[in-house]
Symmetry: C2
Subunit: 428 residues, 2 copies
């Protein structure tokens, strides 16, 4: 090990990649003290060689993966390019050739995490990915280590900053969904195509990764029931607040009767719940275990330097592992086969708003239909009638999703019911 | 390694010890899957052999440390007895004889942590202590690992559940300090002698440990300026709320101008700050770094099973290290020498209440004295006068502690000033 210099390749020089490069420079001295070695980023792989990269010397840029793969001096690959391919091919080849890997790639890990972890374990190679979920919040390693004796039964997270920003603006500034999305886009919180964020796909990837680690069983992106925030209106937010709730987009992975219930959807969270206080683009992960009770982790889920700090935390660990000949004990490989619970078998409470003809007996009829389908009404508020149409805001008791759906179909068909909207699940 | 059984000794069978023993049983299968070995607690050391220990077979009890120390089959010592001695002697001897150590002992680690970590590093032995600070909240390992690239500049924690319970009751149930302490004692949150909790010594130990790890420099218990909550009154709590603050006992360790400011005292925290929402006996640690921005970790700071879950998380890690021949890379040994900042050189904002003669010019005189000592007034409220005495509630701007103390001495000596009380620092 010549002079204890660890040579690395950085795949990707976008926002996170340039942050990693800068932070590696800022931390040079700390890295030596913490690991006994120094880090040299020998190659930075980019798609467009001609694009100027602030702070990165042009002579280390390359667009040729083979050049990195075949360079035996490069022991560590830091992948921050995102997307399933070609990242999957690169990481697989890196692991097969004995290079250690740090990745921030949730798309890849939510679909092929277990496969890659198994391969890394087989080859005695590090595969670390703290930055892939909730950015600068240390949650991946705690799930594998410190919380591994906690008998976890529930994870509930606000793991998408864009949607949390939008919902915060709808609540605090009274904006419509469209106005809040526009502001998020202006500020760079939302991408030009916000689909992955607002439809909950991004959150679904993160909850799949956390579920796998918490319950030691493989959960992938496509296992996650996903519902976004595009249908949430300013009225929903206001009415929820009247009942004492904040609306948040949450990812949930819970052990329920020997199955893993795993889903992403908007939810009414009681104002006293720690997750209800998580504002703006912050992320937070709430966990409950039989042994540890409740815990919550909050922080920046995205952004250049926060994400880079999580990547570099992993790099420091891997460098120490390399220098102490101690790579390959990643943990996190699933050793159980717990089935994923079908969404229709999940129990939820629901908030919904109904526009109904304002005449005697309507509420009783609706309550009857709901009751016949095992849907109890926990709270109901009738809003003042306008032009013969009254608005009912209802919160139900816990009910099987399929029973609720049955009831809803009948309610929607009732002659007195003009509109059913704002159907959102409720915590508890 | 016969059949991959790791034999351990448990020092202490009190609340936490019995929790560890029980949890080791509950987790037997998980431990095998996670580590490839099984755990046998071969000996449990207690002071009183005659006392019945629920769930622990009497034949494994011992009161003889030598029996454990000299047993070469015992590779792992789990110390949950607390207190500096004899724990220090036992842990030192265990490390010297090559046994791995897991400890939950904040008293010991806050005074001799660096010495013990250096010894463990020198001997290639694990010394893990996640449970020593904030119980079930994973904060020790994140400070050493995932947050190690975050360029941390501030740690602020509610790390004593007893005092947080008392302050919560004073706020939410309007209790006096004495009433809230009595209730905490009844519920088992406060010990018969609550001094270590209410005077802030317990919190000071935890902040010393965290400061050492966050800034890679030795900070010990006696470095910490400590002020408890015994002088906080129900009126202070009520007036603080009027200004939009909650009163919390916080431990702070901040990098300030090349020095570490480290202190424990009650503080007015703005209601919007995440720490203000941490209720009852919950603990929380808020960290800020130049790279990671703000993050907060919340959870159970004490209690049988939460603390046991943190201890067993460490045990699982150490077992994996033993079975992979990988002990001794604890991290956390200080490699810097950053001086501790004298308290009088620290800047704070202050809340204080003054009873003054209700006559013209008094407020102007007081403001003049404060101003002459560099103390600016940020907010002031005058309460209705009673019997010729008016109450002023003041929040100052940021001021050096020594300037504030100078000003206070003069104000107290003014003829118009009858009483100065409720002197509490203010966040920001």
């Amino acid at each position: 090990m010549e002079n204890h210099v660890i040579k690395a390749a950085l795949l990707g020089a976008g926002t996170v990649g340039s942050g990693v490069y800068a932070l590696a420079g800022m931390l040079a001295d700390e890295i030596c003290k913490k690991t006994g070695g120094s880090l040299e980023i020998k190659r930075v792989m980019v798609r467009d060689l001609k694009k100027k990269r602030d702070g990165i010397p042009p002579e280390i840029l390359t667009d040729n993966w083979e050049e990195i793969l075949n360079d035996d001096e490069i022991w560590l690959v830091i992948e921050v390019m995102g997307g399933v391919e070609p990242a999957k091919t690169y990481i697989t080849q890196a692991v097969l050739s004995g290079k250690q890997v740090v990745s921030a790639n949730k798309d890849l890990l939510a679909e092929h995490g277990q496969e890659l972890l198994s391969l890394a374990e087989e080859r005695g190679v590090d595969l670390q990915f703290e930055a892939a979920v909730a950015g600068a919040i240390p949650i991946i390693r705690p799930l594998k280590q410190s919380l591994s004796a906690s008998l976890l039964t529930e994870i509930m997270g606000i793991v998408n900053g864009t949607t949390n920003y939008i919902l915060t603006k709808m609540s605090e500034a009274g904006m419509s969904y469209e106005e809040a999305l526009e502001e998020a886009t202006k500020l760079g919180y939302a991408e030009a195509d916000p689909t992955a964020d607002v439809e909950g796909y991004d959150a679904a990837r993160k909850i799949a990764i956390m579920a796998s680690l918490a319950y030691n069983s493989t959960v992938v992106f496509s296992d996650v029931y996903t519902e976004g925030i595009t249908k949430i209106t300013a009225e929903d937010v206001r009415y929820a607040e009247e009942f004492g709730y904040a609306i948040k987009l949450v990812g949930i992975a819970a052990l329920e009767g020997g199955q893993i219930g795993v889903r992403v959807h908007p939810m009414l969270i009681p104002e006293q719940h720690p997750l209800a206080t998580v504002r703006d683009s912050f992320n937070a992960v709430f966990v409950h275990g039989e042994a540890n009770d409740d815990a919550m982790f909050m922080g920046r889920g995205a952004g250049k330097m926060p994400t880079a700090s999580a990547v570099m935390g992993d790099v420091i660990i891997v460098m120490r592992n390399i220098l102490h000949d101690n790579c390959g004990w990643n943990g996190g490989v699933a050793y159980k086969h717990i089935p994923v619970k079908p969404m229709e078998e999940t129990k939820s409470r629901f908030f919904l708003r109904l526009k109904v003809a304002d005449r005697p007996g309507v509420l009783a009829n609706i309550a009857g239909v709901l009751g016949n389908n095992d849907v109890s009404i926990a709270q109901v508020v009738q809003k003042p009638s306008r032009g013969g149409v009254a608005e009912l805001v209802v919160i139900t008791g816990a009910v099987l999703e399929r029973h609720f759906n049955d009831a809803l179909m009948i309610v929607k068909g009732m002659s007195a019911v003009r509109e059913v909207s704002g159907i959102i699940r409720v915590y508890g």
